[in-house]
Structure formats: structure tokens, C-alpha cells
């Protein structure tokens, strides 16, 4: 995995040497700042509400859906386009190292981006407010974990195409689909369960079971249930970590498949 670190290091250096990363950072900070201030004023100076708005609110999820795929498109699809992927894939590092290295770099960048919200909390504290530090840190940690899933998913989509823009689009779409998995699941259950159940009671029972199952798939609920409240629950950690690992695995396999496709 030494190779992965070398690649992650180069990737981060590359990100911060290009204007792309700085512009993205600037835009996000600017808009986040506006939202934070607006919510702070609107809620009559409630620091926690304002912090929630930028770290877990609707806008935040919007960012979260948009940014990782945009970033991930740079990581692999862009390299396919410029041909440097050929260089990486003939370097003495495994495909997994390449994927993991890029994943670490992308996640590192997003961590820097989300850490800006911590500055608000610090600023508020200095201004005399009392932010709920466990919630703030928990939310930050959770944010990074959710980003990890999205970056991994974006990377996977990036390996499917050599067109960066298409990769970004696919990434956003895939992230939306992943977020809405419980919804799609329950829709599907609605259709399928009546076909396999033999009584109305059974339908209800199975639906309840399916719903319970699907509830476990709900990323937003996972996020809100623990991190946002300042609780570090290992089961939540495992949830996000295993999804990330799953998508990274798919990305690695897809990269390998590229070689066969030529």
C-alpha cells in the first residue's frame, strides 16, 4: 500500500496545484458562509441550528451529492483522457493501490473542505456562543464518512468512461440513486410483496420487515441518528466504511476490466 500513499500524495499535490481545487473550495466556502449567516440571523443567533444548516442541512446534502463526483471525475476519467492512466497502470503498483491512492486524495481534499465548517464553530465560540462541540465534531466526522462513500462511487463511475463530464454526471446520478435506495426499495416491495404474500396480514408483516431492512440502508437516517447528535456509533461507522470499500472494490475491478477492453 506504499504505492497508494505515493499516488495519494501526488494526487493531492496535483489537486492543489491546479486552480480547479481552489475555485471549488472558494465557491463552497462562499456559499456556505452566506447560508450560515442567513440561518444564524433567521434563527435569532442559534449557533447549533446554523451549524447544522451548513454541516447537515439540505444545502449540505446538495454539496455532498455534487462535490465528490466532480472531484472524482478528475481523479480517473481525466487521467484516461490525458493518457496518464497508462503511465500509472504500467507503474509497479497494483490497480488497488491506484484506486485507493486516488480515493485517499479525494477524501483528503473534501476533508479540508468540510473542515471549514469547524472554523464557524470556533468563530462562534470566540464570539461568545456555545456550540455543541460533540455534535459539531461528530457531524464533521460523519460528513467525511459520507463523502468517502460518494468519492468511492464517483471513482467507480470514473472508471467506466474516459469522458470526465460524463463521469461526473454518472457520479451524481449514482450518488442520488444510492441515497434513494430505501425509497426505490420500498416502491419495489410495494409491487412485489402482494404477489408473494398469501394474506393481507402477511403483506403487512413482510412490508414491515422489508421497511426495517430498508431503514438500515438509509444513509441520511444513519447520519442523523448518530453523528449529527455527536454520537460515534461503530455500527454507523461500519455502514459507511463498508459501502466505501464495496465501491472501491468495484472501481478496482472495473479498472482491471478496462485493460481487457483495451
Amino acid at each position: 500500500m506504499n504505492g497508494a500513499l505515493v499516488i495519494a500524495r501526488r494526487e493531492l499535490a496535483g489537486l492543489f496545484k491546479a486552480p480547479f481545487a481552489w475555485i471549488l473550495l472558494l465557491v463552497v466556502l462562499f456559499l456556505n458562509g452566506i447560508i450560515f449567516r442567513a440561518v444564524l440571523v433567521q434563527s435569532g443567533g442559534n449557533v447549533s441550528t446554523a451549524l447544522d444548516a451548513v454541516m447537515a442541512g439540505r444545502f449540505f446534502w446538495f454539496w455532498l451529492l455534487l462535490l465528490p463526483p466532480l472531484l472524482a471525475m478528475r481523479l480517473i476519467a481525466e487521467e484516461t483522457r490525458t493518457g496518464t492512466l497508462e503511465y500509472l497502470l504500467t507503474a509497479p503498483v497494483s490497480d488497488a493501490s491506484v484506486v485507493v491512492g486516488k480515493f485517499v486524495a479525494g477524501l483528503g481534499y473534501l476533508t479540508v473542505m468540510w473542515s471549514s465548517s469547524l472554523i464557524y464553530a470556533v468563530a462562534m465560540m470566540r464570539a461568545g456562543g456555545h456550540p455543541d462541540w460533540s455534535a459539531v465534531l461528530g457531524t464533521f466526522f460523519g460528513t467525511v464518512l459520507v463523502s468517502a462513500v460518494f468519492v468511492a462511487l464517483g471513482l467507480f463511475m470514473g472508471t467506466l468512461t474516459g469522458t470526465p463530464l460524463l463521469a461526473a454526471f454518472l457520479g451524481v446520478a449514482a450518488c442520488v440513486v444510492w441515497m434513494l435506495l430505501p425509497y426505490f426499495g420500498s416502491r419495489l416491495a410495494e409491487l412485489v410483496v402482494p404477489l408473494i404474500a398469501d394474506s393481507g396480514e402477511a403483506v403487512q408483516r413482510i412490508r414491515a420487515q422489508v421497511d426495517a431492512l430498508l431503514a438500515n440502508m438509509d444513509a441520511v437516517r444513519h447520519f442523523q441518528r448518530s453523528f449529527q447528535r455527536g454520537i460515534l456509533d461503530t455500527s454507523e461507522l461500519v455502514f459507511f466504511a463498508s459501502w466505501s470499500a464495496f465501491f472501491l472494490f468495484l472501481a478496482t475491478r472495473s479498472l482491471e476490466a478496462r485493460r481487457w477492453r483495451g
Binding site: 496518464t84 497508462e86 503511465y87
Partner: protein
């Protein structure tokens, strides 16, 4: 160093590489020659582990199996793809250090190796420059430096001079030539001159198949031996001069020792072109003859058969297979085809020379004004001839003593 046997790679239904076998010894420099789409790049990508082979009975580089020990192979290969993939946002030094770290070099090794390699390719002064701002030629050098950094056993260079101007091309060629002593080099090109000047041994591929493999001399010899026909790669002397009666001059040339065949080409202006075949370099003999006869010589050159002719024949005809052993040439259908054109007729090459419309000539026919005596009169339309400053409508005197004519008298006498 490189062993490949029965390598096949398919893309869909198309075989990009079809049953290719070859091997490279340590320290060999081999040129991989073929037109675009011949399967050169695919073969190289397979060797570097970028693409897997569809089928191969042996595929080893530096003693390691390419498929099973891919990482070990990749550690021993310096690969420069045709597109020279470098990260534009990095500086030259950073790019090299990245490559070094990927290859597991430590800080001390990097410190010693990076300047050494940059110096080697002649871009030491560019270490701080952004890769994205480099010119094409410098990029190529940096790419070469990147490939060289881990001091690989095998260098695989895909079209290392493509996209360069002639000067850069020559520099890069010289650079690669210099590397030949330390590394086993496999380089591809569709430009013959390049392969001819760098690589001793050449593998010609076309449509994924190996057409020829051997040293240049072997290939040329093999071809010349087996292929008759106007464009056969045979050494000959090109002789162009004002001779008066061409047929008579040719007959005279045939009497020279060692001359096997003389073909008379077309007439350009007042010059006749001849193609003289025979043993060795006949330039001196022809020169001496010209001097004795007083022919005004415009060209006297030894034309060695080039790899280019061989290449064109192989690629266009897709018919001749030259095996590596001793450069034997075996023809499948080609011999018959190649032999078809008239053997003794003027060659295509010579025909082309005389193909243009005849230039307007001065009213006086060449050679009419004088016999075989001193001060024969010749015309020249070539402004670089010694008669350039004269009035073209008047005959010119060629001074200097002429030896008494020998041989058939009518040659110098003109028609």
C-alpha cells in the same frame, strides 16, 4: 530479456496481434517497424502489463512472467508510451521524484538519481519547469528521463520521435543510441530512417503478424536474393551523364569488369541515366570510364538497397516472410508477382526520373559539333554545371586534356 511466443491479442473479433513470436537478448536494440495499426503499440502495452494478452505460450520480460508477476516485470521496465503521459501540473523534478517513489526509491537514491537522469537526457536546467509548459521535444526528453529513472533492464519506447521536428528527432535518436549500451531497448516506429539509424535488428510487423526479423544487412540481403523485379533491393550504381548514344554507352559499360547488368533509363534534358549492377561498388570503374570517354557526369552514386524498399514491399505486398535465421526470404505468392515486370526494361525508378516533360533544348543537338577530339561540345541545362554562366544557345567548350578514346568509337561520337 524479452521472450514472446505465439502472442495473440484480440479486440472483439479483430486480432491486433496475431501469433507474434520474438525474443530480445540482453543489451540488444531492436526496432519494431510497421505501419500505423500494425500492432506495435498493442504488443508493447502487453509487454508492459498494461493490456493482458488474449493468448501467449511464453510472455516473459527480464525473466518474469508478464501476467503472473506483473509487478516484478513493471519494476524492470522503463516504458515511454507514444503520448508521453506526464502530469502537466507537476514540475519536471517532481514528476521524476513521483516516478522514483512509485518504484520504491528512497530519498537518498532520488537525490542522486534525478539530476543524473536529467543530465543524461540533457534537461538538467529544466528541473524547476512545469511539465505542462514544456515543448514537445523537451517533453519527450523528460518522458525518457522518467522511463530511465529506475534504471530499468528493458526500455520500451513507443514512437519515441513522433511529433518532433527533424532536429529534435535527431537529438532524441542520438540519445536513444547512447542508451543502447546499458539497456535492452525495444522501440517502435513507422519511420524507417529512424529505425535504420538506431536499431541494428529490425522486426517488421504488419496486421499483427511478423513479416521479417533480422539485422538490417540480413534482411536486405535476404530480400535482394529472393526478389527479382524492378524495385528489388539490390545495390547498384546510379550514373547520369551526357553520353551521346545511350545504348552504345551502356554496351561499353557492360564490358567493364564486374558489371553484371546495365539498364538505360530515360533522358532528362541531355543527360542519360543508367543503372549499373554488378559486384561491389563500381563507382570508380564507371568514373574512370567517364573520364576516358569525356562524358560530362552529373551523378555517380552508389545506391544501397534500403530497408525502406524492403518495408514497402513487405507491407504493400503482404507476401514475403523473412525469417530471422540468416535472413532467408521465403516468398509465398510474392516471388511470382515481383518477377512479373519485364526484367531488362528500364526500372520504375529510372522511368520516374525521365518521366517529366522534356525540357526545351537548344537547337543544336548534343554532341553534333565535335567528334571524339579534344574540346568536345556539350550542352547542359543544369545551371550548376560549369557552363552555367554561358549563353545557353551556344555550345560550350570543355577544356582539359582528354585521353584518347578507347573501345568502340561510336560512343563518344554522338548521334
Amino acid at each position: 530479456m524479452i521472450e514472446v511466443a505465439h502472442l495473440t491479442r484480440r479486440f472483439g473479433g479483430v486480432a491486433a496481434v496475431d501469433d507474434l513470436s520474438f525474443s530480445l537478448e540482453r543489451g540488444e536494440v531492436v526496432g519494431f517497424l510497421g505501419p500505423n495499426g500494425a500492432g506495435k503499440t498493442t504488443t508493447m502495452r502487453i509487454l508492459t502489463g498494461y493490456l493482458p494478452a488474449t493468448r501467449a505460450s511464453v510472455l516473459r520480460v527480464a525473466g518474469h512472467d508478464v501476467l503472473r508477476e506483473s509487478l516484478a516485470v513493471r519494476r524492470r521496465i522503463g516504458y515511454l508510451p507514444e503520448s508521453v503521459p506526464l502530469y502537466p501540473e507537476l514540475r519536471v523534478g517532481e514528476m521524476l521524484r513521483f516516478q522514483g517513489r512509485l518504484h520504491g526509491l528512497d530519498r537518498a537514491a532520488l537525490k542522486a538519481r534525478v539530476p543524473a537522469v536529467l543530465d543524461r537526457v540533457g534537461v538538467l536546467d529544466r528541473e524547476r519547469q512545469l511539465v505542462g509548459k514544456l515543448s514537445r521535444g523537451l517533453r519527450q526528453r523528460v518522458g525518457l528521463a522518467v522511463a530511465l529513472l529506475p534504471n530499468p533492464d528493458v526500455l520500451i519506447l513507443d514512437e519515441p520521435t513522433s511529433g518532433l521536428d527533424p532536429l529534435q528527432r535527431r537529438e532524441v535518436r542520438a540519445l536513444i543510441k547512447g542508451l543502447a549500451h546499458e539497456h535492452t531497448v525495444l522501440l517502435s516506429s513507422h519511420i524507417l530512417g529512424e529505425v535504420e539509424s538506431i536499431a541494428e535488428r529490425v522486426i517488421i510487423v504488419h496486421r499483427g503478424r511478423k513479416l521479417a526479423d533480422g539485422t538490417q544487412a540480413e534482411l536486405i540481403e535476404g530480400l535482394a536474393g529472393s526478389l527479382a523485379g524492378p524495385l528489388a533491393g539490390r545495390a547498384h550504381v546510379r550514373f547520369e551523364a551526357v553520353v551521346g548514344d545511350a545504348e552504345a554507352a551502356a554496351a561499353l559499360m557492360r564490358t567493364l569488369d564486374g558489371v553484371a547488368r546495365v539498364e538505360v533509363g530515360a533522358k532528362v534534358g541531355i543527360h542519360h541515366a543508367f543503372r549499373v549492377e554488378g559486384e561491389g561498388d563500381l563507382r570508380e570503374d564507371l568514373g574512370a570510364l567517364a573520364l576516358t570517354r569525356g562524358w560530362a557526369v552529373r551523378e555517380l552514386s552508389h545506391v544501397k538497397p534500403s530497408l525502406e524498399e524492403l518495408f514497402m514491399r513487405l507491407v504493400q505486398g503482404d507476401e514475403v516472410v523473412v525469417s530471422s535465421a540468416g535472413g532467408n526470404v521465403s516468398s509465398r505468392t510474392g516471388a511470382a508477382r515481383a518477377a512479373a515486370p519485364p526484367k531488362n526494361g528500364p526500372s520504375d525508378e529510372l522511368l520516374q526520373l525521365g518521366g517529366g516533360p522534356a525540357l526545351a533544348r537548344p537547337s543544336a543537338a548534343p554532341g553534333t559539333a565535335a567528334g571524339p577530339a579534344v574540346g568536345r561540345v556539350i550542352y547542359s541545362l543544369n545551371p550548376f554545371d560549369r557552363g552555367a554562366q554561358r549563353d545557353l544557345s551556344k555550345p560550350v567548350q570543355v577544356d582539359g586534356p582528354l585521353p584518347p578514346p578507347s573501345g568502340s568509337e561510336q560512343v563518344g561520337g554522338g548521334a
